[in-house]
């Protein structure tokens, strides 16, 4: 096994790391870069708890190799708030009690942000289908959908 040297940009910061070729981006984020906000719920792309964006595209970081992050821009939950100012989605999740245990929350917030950047005024159905890859076992999704719709409305101004 020989490790590869990767240069990437995570949440606006240039980073370099060494990783094994078989390590996933999720493992790199969590174990090498200490960004544990992205969660592993399944490791097979079925739960969305590890959602990040890679060059602006929403992906499951468990289904991306760490080496593929070379020369890429990665954005994770840790980069969502602007300093001490929460992103409107984060604030609306708190206001609507859209989280119970909170393990799916980082992935859902990252996914919802990607949605609103693509489609600032999604219908309820569009929100539900966009977020279908993010499992939540606590809430039944109701308050999550309301929070996303409300954040979208606020962001539209």
């Amino acid at each position: 096994m020989s490790q590869l040297h990767i240069k990437s940009n995570v949440n606006g910061d240039d980073v370099e790391f060494l990783c094994e070729p078989e390590e996933t981006l999720l493992e790199v984020l969590r174990d090498r870069l200490n960004l544990t906000g992205s969660k592993e719920g399944c490791g097979t792309g079925d739960c969305g708890a590890c959602s990040v964006t890679m060059n602006g595209k929403l992906v499951c970081s468990c289904l991306v190799l760490g080496v593929e992050a070379d020369n890429s821009k990665i954005n994770t939950i840790e980069g969502m708030a602007d300093g001490d100012k929460l992103h409107p989605l984060q604030q609306k999740f708190l206001d609507h009690a859209a989280l119970q245990c909170g393990i799916c929350t980082p992935g859902i917030l990252v996914a919802a942000k990607a949605l609103l950047e693509k489609n600032p005024s999604p219908s309820e159905t569009e929100v539900r289908y966009w977020l279908a890859g993010n499992l939540c076992r606590c809430t039944g999704y109701d308050k999550i959908i309301r929070a996303v719709m409300d954040a979208a409305e606020e962001m539209r101004g």
């Binding site: 096994m1 094994e20 078989e22 390590e23 493992e27 969590r30 174990d31 200490n34 960004l35 544990t36 906000g37 992205s38 969660k39 592993e40 719920g41 399944c42 490791g43 097979t44 079925d46 739960c47 708890a49 994770t76 939950i77 840790e78 969502m80 708030a81 929460l86 984060q90 999740f93 708190l94 009690a97 989280l99 119970q100 245990c101 909170g102 393990i103 799916c104 929350t105 980082p106 917030l109 159905t125 929100v127 539900r128 289908y129 977020l131 279908a132 890859g133 993010n134 499992l135 939540c136 076992r137 606590c138 809430t139 039944g140 999704y141 109701d142 308050k143 999550i144 959908i145 309301r146």
Partner: protein, 753 residues
């Protein structure tokens, strides 16, 4: 959606019933909150568990030598490594974590490795050579009862099990009262039907994870995601032969549990690996392991017989419940047998329950364990009777509903309960009278759960600036820090923001029962209120010292000490800030604490109403509209009460429609992943409309009843009844997956259904 206030309440609340932001919210929306797998420490090793590929086999030998020789491997253990700690008593938790002489199910742990990286640990597992002698297996509940079935695990049969069954039948329970035969003889119509439900998994999104560090002097620190770290300490200390005080367990944030994280699977293994390697060890399950080796629910086979008069009075009810809960015994079937008919006021009722062992993983509690299955069967038959007798299903339930003074089906007479109010709320809700379209059916079901209390400790510290620190010992699984802070603020008479509640490690408080049985808001809330009252008493005493009057002459109001009456003297109120600021000078820091085995939890009822549309060409069912009515006693933080009701309902929807453990003929689990174990996704669902009722629990100062579990009980029958009405076919087998529904429709069309 605002809570209905059916009972006028003496107390006017200021903080209770509001919806403040949760104290741990920002950590959880920014990714800062640390869950089980999120902690890394210096010199840490990564552990992996080797698991059985067989459903049932003797372990002839385990050769770990090649794994031990692999570079980077620091420790390898098998069940033998635990022998030196053993008290000689069999320990089911340990035996379920790591097999002794036999592997009892597909995925049963056999050996474990700790290495310097996850990849090395994975490679080491492949180097462990295990020789098995496979044995015949059984995974079906009815087959496991047969005399000829392979015996799964010997020595567990209780003294009262009737003869004639396989040794897999380990316990038998019977409840009820009255004369069944006389009851059935009065019935206009009797319906008897058999039901089956498949096992489901709690499906928490965070796999079980822990980090253990143990030293040769017998001390250890353990970090883990659990519903009860005090229980983890008790169980692990016993397994490891440790004194309780030497094991400090800290609960991480917990990514869902629903009962599944009340059991212990990996912590003893991490401790043993840490002891052997001399390094901290992190052990995180994969999703595949979570499905194969952590607790699903029981699966069941049930017969229900109910008689009804033509005007809808139930004359007698009988249920036979056969539950399998894997390779070790459990106490689920007796709870099912007790709750089956709990919603009804019956003159004659009898329930029987058998627990059966199979080659499946040890079942764990899942929201109201045992109740959803039994109540699904009973509520389906009640609905069928309503249909054949042409009666309104809601009126019929009202006519038979349990109320204050009803002799319950499980023995005690009910005190104030909220079932009738809940049914009335459903009846008066626009959902019940809304029109439904072609291919749709409307279903209804009642649900019930006991709710628990149990050992609880709370310390409430009054800081010098008059703010409050509450220390409690129950992992916050869905917003309980908020509700506990609210109760402390309410009782003390200060703002919610002045209170911070933390979850203590096991060395900072006395024993706390697991976060289960919907107990936390009830029991921890009760202890918090009592702790606050103790602190208030002390603050009144300090005020009395300052004013130089009798302690009894001081009253507490709105966060201040005031003279109790005109005779006490004329003094300006002393605020909590002032008293706290002077506390060093008046005797020292002020705290209140309360330690109690909280009893009197008070039962909870719910009613669910659902409209389902069935695609008759594909057998696919779609939830069109869903309303939950539930008695919360008193909703402390209504948003999180609604969240429990919505979340439970959706778990029930998954159970009713698609979730199931699928075992192959080889006894292996076919679907250990979120792709083929289908929990509902956002696009499967409509909004879930919650209606909170508040019929105060006399056993709690604010009237709180547990709300976490009841909501999973009604969906199974509500959805089954809706599909049955949409298709004019009675369904009696869960899940109602499309192939099953389509087959029933086709059979009916072909005239053999």
């Amino acid at each position: 959606m605002s809570p209905l206030n059916n009972n006028s309440q003496a107390r006017q609340f200021k903080v209770i019933g509001t919806r403040p932001p949760r104290p741990d919210g920002i950590e959880k929306v920014t990714g800062k909150a640390q869950y089980g797998a999120d902690l890394n420490v210096a010199n840490m090793l990564f552990a992996k568990i080797l698991r059985s590929p067989h459903a049932h086999a003797k372990v002839l030998s385990i050769d770990t030598s090649a794994a031990e020789r692999l570079d980077g491997v620091k420790a390898v253990i098998t069940s033998k490594d635990f022998d030196r700690f053993s008290s000689g008593q069999p320990n089911n938790i340990l035996e379920n974590s790591i097999a002794h002489q036999k592997v009892l199910y597909d995925g049963h742990g056999v050996a474990a490795v700790a290495a310097t990286s996850d990849l090395i640990a994975k490679s080491a597992l492949k180097l462990i050579k295990v020789k098995y002698e496979t044995l015949p297996h059984v995974t079906d509940v009815d087959k496991a009862m047969e005399k000829s079935a392979p015996i799964v695990n010997k020595g567990y049969v209780l003294e009262n099990v009737p003869k004639g069954h396989s040794e897999n039948v380990t316990s038998y329970f019977e409840f009820g009262h009255g004369d069944l035969e006389a009851g059935f003889s009065k019935a206009e119509k009797i319906v008897t039907r058999s039901f089956k439900t498949e096992a489901t998994h709690q499906g928490y999104i965070e796999p079980n994870a822990c980090l253990a560090s143990m030293t040769p002097d017998g001390k250890a620190d353990l970090w883990c995601c659990t519903q009860g770290h005090y229980n983890v300490r008790a169980v692990c200390a016993e397994i490891m032969g440790m004194e309780t005080s030497q094991l400090k367990v800290t609960a991480s944030e917990i990514g869902g549990g629903f009962g599944g994280k009340t059991l212990i699977y990996i912590e003893p293994i991490a401790l043993a690996l840490s002891l052997k390697s001399g390094q901290p060890v992190k052990l995180v399950m994969t999703r595949d392991e979570v499905f194969k080796a952590t607790g699903p629910t029981v699966s069941s086979s049930m017969d229900v017989k109910i008689g009804m008069t033509k005007d809808g009075k139930i004359t007698a009810g009988e249920a036979k419940l056969r539950y399998q809960g894997g390779a070790f015994p459990n106490g689920t079937v007796e709870m099912g047998a007790q709750s089956a008919f709990a919603s009804y006021d019956l003159k004659a009722v009898k329930t029987q329950g058998w627990n059966i062992l199979t080659n499946r993983p040890m079942q764990a509690a899942y929201r109201a364990p045992g109740a959803p299955q039994a109540i699904y069967a009973v509520e389906s038959v009640v609905d069928e009777l309503c249909e054949v007798l042409n009666l309104d299903p809601l009126e019929t339930r009202l006519k038979n509903a349990a109320k204050k003074g009803t002799l319950s089906s499980y023995g005690p007479t009910f005190d104030d309960i909220g079932l009738i109010a809940t049914l009335e709320a459903a009846k008066n809700h626009p959902h019940y009278s809304a029109p439904i379209s072609k291919n749709q059916g409307r279903g209804l079901s009642c649900g019930f759960w006991f709710n628990f209390g149990g050992d609880t400790c709370v310390t409430l510290n009054v800081n010098f600036d008059g703010t409050i620190g509450v220390t409690e010992g129950n992992p916050d699984i869905g917003g309980s820090r908020a509700s506990i802070s609210q109760m402390a603020a309410e009782e003390i008479g200060i703002a919610y923001e002045k209170v911070r509640t933390i979850i203590a490690d096991t060395n900072s408080l006395g024993h706390n029962e697991i976060t289960d049985g919907s107990r936390v808001t009830f029991a921890v809330g009760l202890a918090t209120i009592k702790a606050a009252r103790a602190a208030i008493k002390e603050m009144c005493k300090r005020a009395a010292m300052i004013w130089n009057i009798d302690e009894e002459a001081v009253r507490w109001e709105n966060g201040s000490a005031i003279p109790a009456g005109p005779n006490a003297g004329k003094f300006d109120p002393l605020t909590i800030e002032e008293i706290a600021g002077m506390s060093s000078q008046t005797g020292g820091p002020i705290a209140g604490h309360h330690e109690v085995n909280a009893e009197g939890a008070g039962v909870s009822f719910g009613v669910h109403l659902v409209d389902v549309e069935v695609d008759k060409e594909t057998g696919s069912s779609k939830i069109i509209r869903y309303t939950v009515f539930q008695d919360a006693g008193k909703a402390i933080h209504p948003s999180y009460v609604e969240g429990q009701m919505q979340g439970g309902a959706v778990q029930g929807i998954g159970w009713a429609l698609n979730e199931e453990y699928i075992y192959g003929d080889d006894g292996k689990l076919q679907n250990p992943g979120f792709l083929d174990y289908r929990i509902p996704v956002a696009s499967d669902l409509p909004m879930i409309d919650p209606v909170i009722l508040e019929i105060p629990n006399p056993g709690h100062p604010y009237g709180v009843r547990g709300v976490g579990e009841t909501s999973i009980v009604p969906p199974l029958a509500a959805i089954s009844n809706a599909i049955s009405r949409a298709t004019s076919i009675r369904f009696s087998d869960l899940p109602m997956s499309p192939p099953k529904v389509l087959k029933a429709i086709k059979d009916k069309q072909r005239g053999n259904g």
